[in-house]
Symmetry: C2
Subunit: 198 residues, 2 copies
């Protein structure tokens, strides 16, 4: 598996200690159908993974420094409650954010992946936010902001998908697959926020 760094504090993909996702594999298969994710998309995701490998640092910097840092109601989730920076927390979570990009593209969407999706989701809720890094930050990231920021990620990822000279139709295919994969993931994450009719 392609890793963005040898050491990634708190990156727990495949850890046996993780809480199992309450989502069944059948629900996952249905959700793939809902978002329209096909075998073609899976191939395009692999291609996107190759294209994005080596670009995850500028992508996450783009999201964090050029966008989130300028939006106080989002930036606060990586900061202390008084607004002061938490550089170690930000650095560790940025590295995991980078790896998430590659995992989105290159991991098989199986039980292990599903369990780590649940872990990612829990780390945005009061069940687990801050715990991994011992960070004195906000208690949770509101679901609405997790869902909403998808629009920004989907929009801004496009030039990075085009950065290695693929034909427009291939870039389009990678982007379509990316958007479907992200919508699949946030739909999964919503489960951890606890509404009864997930």
């Amino acid at each position: 598996m392609t890793r963005v760094a040898e050491v990634m504090p708190g990156y727990g993909y495949g850890d046996a200690t993780l809480t199992a996702s309450p989502v069944t594999l059948e629900e996952l298969e249905q959700l793939k159908i809902t978002v329209g994710l096909t075998g073609d998309d899976e191939r395009y995701l692999r291609l996107a993974g190759e294209v994005l490998t080596g670009q995850t640092t500028p992508i996450v910097l783009h999201w964090r420094s050029q966008i989130i840092a300028h939006i106080p109601h989002l930036a606060r989730h990586s900061r202390a409650l008084d607004g002061s920076p938490l550089p170690a927390y930000l650095a560790a979570s940025n590295l995991r954010f980078e790896q998430w990009i590659l995992d989105t593209c290159l991991r098989p969407y199986d039980r292990t992946w599903l369990d780590y999706q649940h872990e990612i989701a829990l780390r945005h809720t009061s069940a687990k936010k801050n715990q991994t890094d011992g960070a004195p930050s906000t208690p949770f990231v509101p679901l609405r902001d997790v869902l909403g920021f998808v629009a920004v990620m989907n929009d801004t990822i496009r030039p990075y998908l085009a950065a290695k000279g693929h034909a427009p139709a291939e870039v389009e295919g990678m982007h379509r697959a990316w958007c479907r994969a992200i919508q699949l993931q946030v739909a999964l994450w919503a489960k951890a926020y606890g509404g009864g009719e997930w």
Copy 2:
């Protein structure tokens, strides 16, 4: 306001009897920022509204007949519990679905709009599903499917945005604005599903 039909049973935009949205205008403004919705996008949404006017019937047929009808776990929400069709329910909700496309593009996102967003959301949950039409259908549409189907709507709307001969950059602008507006709306709808950390 452009209407897709003179008579739209159950279309309650602006009705004084609606439950007020629990979302504040300040939260709405923040959410616009989260999804990246700008003044430019608002202009592109108006243009999209002009372009999509007259096309809402084929768009909704595309979504309902070509896609949802072939996905049993989605199609069942417009059917009786035994799977038999409910033509009157489907017809009425299709008409509201059509109008929702135009409302997405042409309505100002104000308190009235926010209250109707909440009404739309409630009509997907057990709080209000089926009530408007007295339909004996499924008790709710799972949040995951509402969130997931966004990927399909965003993808399939594009040719309709291009159907009236606008320049590629304008089509792109309309599509970007559409995607942001839809992500904003599903983030709002998630509130009605009752997770505590919305």
